[in-house]
């Protein structure tokens, strides 16, 4: 049982790390602000999501698990809001 948990943690955290890497490469390589935002949200939403999912089997109990989940939800909320605000500013200023 422990072994299965560890396998799930390793698999999910590795997937999360891959999305963070891909998001970072996108942030550095993509040509304009909107596409860079797109890359950034992949790291925030999917990357952090998989890391949290991978850490859930290692959580000490229900409370710790809920705390981990709420960290992800807050990051989603903040990320979505900030992306919207940046994207609107870009569209209003007309710069790519």
């Amino acid at each position: 049982m422990n072994f299965a948990r560890d396998i799930m943690t390793i698999a999910c955290v590795s997937t999360g790390a891959f999305f963070f890497l891909a998001g970072t490469v996108g942030l550095l390589r993509f040509p304009d602000t909107l596409t860079r935002l797109h890359a950034l949200t992949k790291a925030d939403n999917l990357g952090l999501g998989f890391v949290v999912l991978g850490l859930l089997p290692q959580a000490g109990g229900l409370r710790d698990g809920l705390k981990l989940m709420s960290i992800w939800m807050f990051a989603l909320l903040a990320g979505a809001t900030v992306s919207q605000l940046i994207a609107r500013t870009v569209r209003r200023s007309g710069a790519g």
């Binding site: 909320l77 809001t81 609107r88």
Partner: protein, 312 residues
């Protein structure tokens, strides 16, 4: 080398590199962004050193609120930056470089000649943790064993607000700090400012409450509460209170004031200034912390709001 060591070395290298970049980069705005990232990475270092209380404070103040203050300053400086591009002459720069290098060398030397087992009071603190009824050693030191330092620190916070307010013009004195923020009432920012504060206020109070036995405390909780208030102000849902408001001034002095009253009570009825009677140590400390979390939240938010500039 274990994986943890590799991670630590990489973290230290990135922090050093980022610190040098922050100093070297010419634009104020880039330096500010670098400084915020630097604060968050330093918080990670504190976590690695098992100093979670310090990490929380560094992330909240160094990375969060301090970063917003600097961003505001950078935005104000942006117009002046193009005109004030004068560089100090070679002699001044040489003197500054010599001064910085000697301070760095002295600090490095001081660290290198530390004895292997640095003198520490940590075991005494751990042994006396039961005296206050709280399990978090950091809270014990801050609120009981070195309560004097914490009280003076709160007075310093009060002085910073007085300093910021004293930048107001005569005409605006007594008015509301900062510009009036107007955002689309149906926009994303207003949505976030309605959705987040209920959860954020619970988190702030939880950080204060859990500080008795786990990492957390008045400063970290107060920083979270301040950011929730600022979010509502920036989204245009609330306005900054006029600095002449009585209740605002009462909250600003509540923390250090109650601390001082309890301290004087210790002088009159107990052993010494700031000595708590053992039976009431925990309720007294909790009372001070509740007053302090309000003071800290109001102080931090007002520091960010700036000097009064509008009539009430």
């Amino acid at each position: 080398m274990s994986i943890a060591t590799v991670f630590e070395v990489a973290l230290a290298a990135v922090v050093l590199g980022l610190a040098i970049w922050t100093i070297a980069v010419p634009e104020t705005y880039s330096a500010t962004v670098g400084f915020v990232a630097y604060g968050l990475l330093v918080a990670l270092i504190w976590v690695r050193l098992d100093a979670v209380d310090v990490a929380l404070t560094e992330a909240a103040i160094g990375g969060g609120l301090g970063g917003v203050v600097l961003l505001g300053a950078a935005a104000r400086l942006r117009d002046a930056e193009a005109t004030a591009a004068e560089r100090p002459d070679r002699f001044t720069r040489l003197i500054a470089a010599i001064l910085s290098a000697s301070i760095a060398a002295a600090l490095g030397l001081a660290i290198l000649i530390l004895p292997d087992h640095a003198p520490t009071l940590a075991p005494v603190v751990a042994a006396n943790a039961g005296a206050t009824g709280m399990a978090n050693p950091v809270t014990n030191v801050l609120m009981a064993f070195r309560g004097m330092d914490t009280m003076l620190e709160k007075v310093v916070l009060l002085l910073t607000v007085v300093g910021v307010w004293s930048l107001a013009s005569d005409r605006a004195w007594g008015g509301r700090p900062g510009p009036h923020h107007e955002a689309d009432p149906h926009g994303v920012l207003a949505f976030l400012a309605r959705l987040l504060p209920p959860a954020g206020i619970v988190v702030g109070i939880y950080m204060l409450w859990t500080g008795a036995d786990h990492p957390g405390g008045a400063f970290q909780g107060g920083a979270v509460l301040a950011s929730m208030w600022l979010l509502a102000i920036m989204a245009g849902l609330a306005d900054t209170p006029p600095v002449s408001s009585r209740w605002l001034r009462f909250i600003l002095v509540a923390g250090p004031g109650l601390f001082l009253v309890v301290g004087l009570g210790g002088l009159c009825f107990g052993a010494a200034f700031l000595a708590y009677p053992v039976a009431f140590a925990k309720p007294l400390i909790l009372g001070i912390e509740v007053a302090m979390v309000l003071t800290i939240a109001a102080t931090l938010a007002l520091l960010l709001a700036g000097a009064p500039e509008r009539n009430a």
